[in-house]
């Protein structure tokens, strides 16, 4: 199956490129920083350590996936490997989705490893829910980075666009709360700003409601809310894959 072969090649490249070592380094760094900060905490030292480690590992997983996708795709474009692959008797959809499946596999592997690192401090059920959410989140990031890397064809712009997209999506709920919170006036400028923020939020994934540290600290979320949040992630990942496929099909290499 060509898609599976392409996915395997991507995973092989990630393994040989040192991604497992970087993931191990991220775990050690997060655990070390969490242990240090918990030593200076007056109370809630375990909760603090869990929160810090989870937040760092989440950011680390997203960064590693984005960097891996961008560097891999742009290297392939740069050394004309992609053109050579496109000469094979395979559809462009197979090329694109095969790579995306491989990068999603990288995200899944990172999510499993990072979730395991949290097991000493949080209940296994909560960790499993957190890990599944992280896996879907990294898949979304992989799809976004693949889209930006193929569309922009430059390393720095691709990573910058992915980072901007991701941070904006994570901050959107806070921005909406600020735009409509107490203290905002009812003038035209405020209403316009609120409308713009609300409009932007419509085309972004609700990343503030997934992979939440509170699941590890205060117990798992209600099943309905959890399923809805993960469903939103899956939907947006498919949207990004469709957008990427659209761009990939119409591009001349």
């Amino acid at each position: 199956m060509p898609t599976a072969i392409l996915a395997r090649l991507v995973l092989l490249e990630a393994r040989r490129g040192g991604l497992p070592w970087l993931a191990a380094g991220g775990i050690v760094l997060a655990l070390g920083l969490g242990a240090f900060l918990s030593q200076v905490a007056l109370t809630e030292s375990v909760a603090l350590q869990t929160a810090i480690v989870a937040a760092l590992l989440r950011a680390c997983a997203v960064f590693l996936v984005a960097a891996q996708v961008a560097s891999s795709v742009l290297r392939e474009i740069g050394d004309k490997g992609l053109e050579q692959m496109l000469s094979l008797p395979l559809s462009r959809s197979v090329h694109y989705l095969g790579r995306l499946a491989g990068f999603a596999g990288c995200g899944l592997a990172l999510a499993v490893a990072f979730s395991a690192a949290l097991l000493p401090w949080a209940p296994p059920g909560a960790v499993a829910l957190w890990g599944l959410s992280l896996a879907l989140e990294t898949m979304l990031v992989a799809a976004a980075t693949l889209f930006f890397a193929m569309a922009l064809a430059q390393l720095v712009p691709a990573i910058a666009a992915t980072a901007g997209f991701y941070l904006l999506a994570r901050s959107m709920a806070a921005m909406q709360a600020m735009a409509s919170g107490p203290g905002t006036d009812e003038g035209f400028a405020s209403q316009l700003a609120r409308g713009v923020v609300d409009a932007i939020s419509l085309v972004l994934p609700a990343l503030e409601s997934v992979t939440r540290t509170e699941w590890l600290l205060y117990g798992p979320p209600p099943a309905g809310a959890y399923a809805s949040a993960l469903g939103g992630l899956a939907l947006y990942t498919v949207l990004l894959a469709a957008a990427g496929l659209f761009d990939f099909h119409r591009r001349n290499w």
Binding site: L37, V40, A41, L42, T43, E44, A47, L48, A51, I52, A54, A55, R58, L167, R170, S171, A173, A174, M175, A177, M178, G181, L207, E208, T213, E214, L217, Y218
Partner: protein
């Protein structure tokens, strides 16, 4: 040395010199730098909770705890005779309030307020911290009762302000009604009333507790019944005098 590298000898002498000189300068500069904790007056005005939420990028639990570490690092008072004497308490309370709004289920801000910032030898500052604990308690009494119970303890033993202690204890008894709240916390007001020589009021409270059936532990019920008898004896003695 791998096949992709040339020998060290091909590096020009001035590059070696620049590298070593810069490294030495960096180490010397860092060694001479006085790290030191931030000064007491350095606590800036507290940000709005919404701003902190934005800055935490969707990680409010981690953001709240990191903010608490930052706040506690300001004027952290090791073995100083007058800890936190220069700390601006209204600003401090603003920070604690923002952290609590960021993660309302965290015990950290109220623990710090009641166990650290309220235990300063400066009465006016202690009262500011205690009032913060009191105002926050109503937001989630069954989770935050311990901080207000400690506040009542401090008001009684440190500030010697029995009416204030009674007010706090009464709020614990009235609003912290969950099963996990221990009875000693719910009964604090009785003992404060005794200290205030309000024996009749204490007697009525104990009698009410015994009749309400809220006491599930027979030992506890026996203890309070004994206490009730002692109170009645004290009231009788006082009336004879």
């Amino acid at each position: 040395m791998s096949a992709g590298e040339r020998p060290l000898g091909v590096v020009p002498g001035w590059v070696w010199g620049a590298l070593l000189a810069c490294l030495a300068a960096q180490i010397a500069a860092q060694a001479l730098r006085q790290a030191g904790a931030p000064a007491a007056g350095d606590l800036p005005p507290a940000p709005r909770a919404a701003t902190l939420r934005l800055a935490s990028f969707g990680e409010p639990e981690a953001g709240a705890r990191l903010t608490m570490l930052y706040v506690q690092s300001v004027d952290f008072a090791g073995g100083r005779a007058l800890p936190y004497r220069n700390l601006d308490y209204p600003r401090l309370v603003g920070w604690l309030r923002a952290v609590l709004a960021l993660d309302p289920r965290s015990d950290y801000p109220l623990f710090a307020a009641s166990r650290v910032y309220a235990e300063v030898p400066d009465e006016s500052r202690a009262r500011i911290a205690l009032e913060f604990v009191h105002e926050s308690f109503r937001g989630d009494p069954n989770r935050r009762w311990a901080a207000l119970a400690h506040a009542a303890f401090l008001a009684k033993h440190r500030l010697h302000d029995l009416p204030l202690a009674r007010r706090y204890a009464a709020e614990v008894a009235r609003y912290a009604t969950a099963d996990h709240v221990p009875l000693w916390a719910k009964q604090m007001e009785i003992f404060i009333l005794e200290d205030m020589n309000e024996l009749e009021a204490a007697k009525i409270m104990i009698g009410g507790l015994l009749e309400s059936g809220a006491l599930r532990d027979p030992q506890e019920a026996r203890f309070l019944a004994q206490r009730l008898k002692e109170l009645e004896a004290r009231i009788a003695r006082r009336n004879v005098k």
